[in-house]
Amino acid sequence: MAPLTQYLLLLGMGITTAGLVWMLYLIKQSLGQTLDEPGKDIPAESGNLAPKPAWLRYHVHYYGYALLFLAFDMEMAYMYPWAVVYREVGILALLDMGVFLMILFLGLIYTWTQLGLKRQ
């Protein structure tokens, strides 16, 4: 199969799924409307009636990991093409990637020493 045909197939599958889901919504809608009762549309909060919307400022405790991850994540962009040619190139590839990963690993160790790897 030509690559473009494959992507068209994938696209077609995505559109079909969306269409089926939309049909499900339509069927559900035709089955009857939601009754409007007081207190029904309040989100679950263990019995409290939440007065405010939940879109407030929220302290995310893992932002240290998030920063590390953003940078560390890029390593995979180089790693996949490298893995494909690994056996063909041989020992040179191992040394190259070894140096690269050692450099990145230094970053991980640095973060560890700075107490970045814990709940902030």
Partner: protein, 300 residues
């Protein structure tokens, strides 16, 4: 095998597999096997009233379930079920699995934001925390299988396991991928985004009717997808004596799915910050060791 027949077989295995996974899930929660249970809860959710929370984000509320289930169907369409029986044999299959599974987290985040409830929101952020934790080990484990196959075609990865399955060739990678698969599918013990005990359902808490149905169905299909992925990447795919390829894939998949639920049944829930800590302190170095080991063995 003709394309029509193999397409029919893939659909059959997919539907049957999802039903079987649903039975397994009920069994892991209630302890008894009920073959009609999934059908009954399907009808229940299908007939359930659609409740929309106040001030919900309309666009996300409608699109999050579509994204969730669509991504899973795209992933299953690139996985090979038998020799030559794969819907789309993508040239970057190993990377595509990873790329598609990232969007599970995005769908959970969207659903959590859309509901405008505190618990759902917290569940969404926890889904992102889990992604940050498992993403690196999963990528490196996948890379090690690509190294052995010298190709990102999933069929080539299966063919490369002709002499020795990857589970024996790179056991560390298998363990990392297996645990991460549990976290990707947010199964227990990593079910924090939808934790029943502490978040009262988390992301799913306020979804009813069709949306809840899509999320539940999507999660069952996700478990099946990940089981097939484990089989394809580490357990030799369709390979096995005597029986045809489809049967072997199906048997191995069911075994892996059952083991997923069994693991979740016996291990307590792990906090997301502990998961982050363990994965970055031990998981990433182990994954690096795995790549190094595979690299050295390949060169010998």
């Amino acid at each position: 095998m003709t394309p029509f027949l193999s397409g029919f077989m893939i659909t059959l295995l997919f539907v049957g597999g999802v039903y079987f996974v649903a039975v397994l899930e009920r069994c892991s929660m209630t302890g008894n096997v009920s073959w009609s249970g999934p059908a009954r809860s399907f009808l229940l959710l299908f007939a359930q009233e659609e409740i929309k929370t106040r001030k919900h984000d309309k666009v996300f509320f409608e699109t999050a379930p579509i994204l969730f289930i669509g991504v899973i169907l795209l992933t299953i369409s690139i996985l090979p079920f038998s020799r030559g029986s794969v819907v789309i044999d993508l040239g970057t299959g190993a990377l595509f699995i990873n790329a598609a599974l990232v969007y599970i987290m995005v769908a959970l985040l969207m659903a959590g934001w859309a509901v405008n409830g505190v618990y759902a929101m917290v569940g969404g952020w926890r889904a992102l925390a889990q992604l940050i934790a498992y993403s690196m080990p999963v990528v490196m484990a996948l890379t090690a299988t690509v190294m052995r196959a010298e190709s990102m075609f999933l069929t080539d990865i299966v063919e490369s396991q002709q002499s020795l399955w990857n589970i024996l060739y790179q056991p560390v990678g298998f363990i990392l991928f297996y645990i991460s698969a549990l976290a990707i599918a947010f199964l227990p013990p990593f079910d924090l985004p939808v934790a029943e005990g502490e978040l009262a359902g988390g992301v799913w808490a306020d979804l009813t009717g069709a949306r809840k149905l899509l999320f539940r169905l999507g999660r069952l299909a996700l478990v099946l997808t990940l089981s097939v992925a484990v089989v394809v990447l580490y357990l030799g795919g369709w390979m096995g004596p005597w029986l045809p390829g489809f049967v072997w894939t199906f048997l191995k998949t069911l075994l892996v799915a059952a083991s997923f639920f069994a693991v979740g049944h016996f291990i307590p829930r792990i906090r997301h910050d502990h998961l982050l800590e363990y994965n970055w302190k031990y998981g990433v170095p182990l994954a690096l060791y795995n790549i190094f080991q595979v690299g050295v063995v390949l060169l010998l």
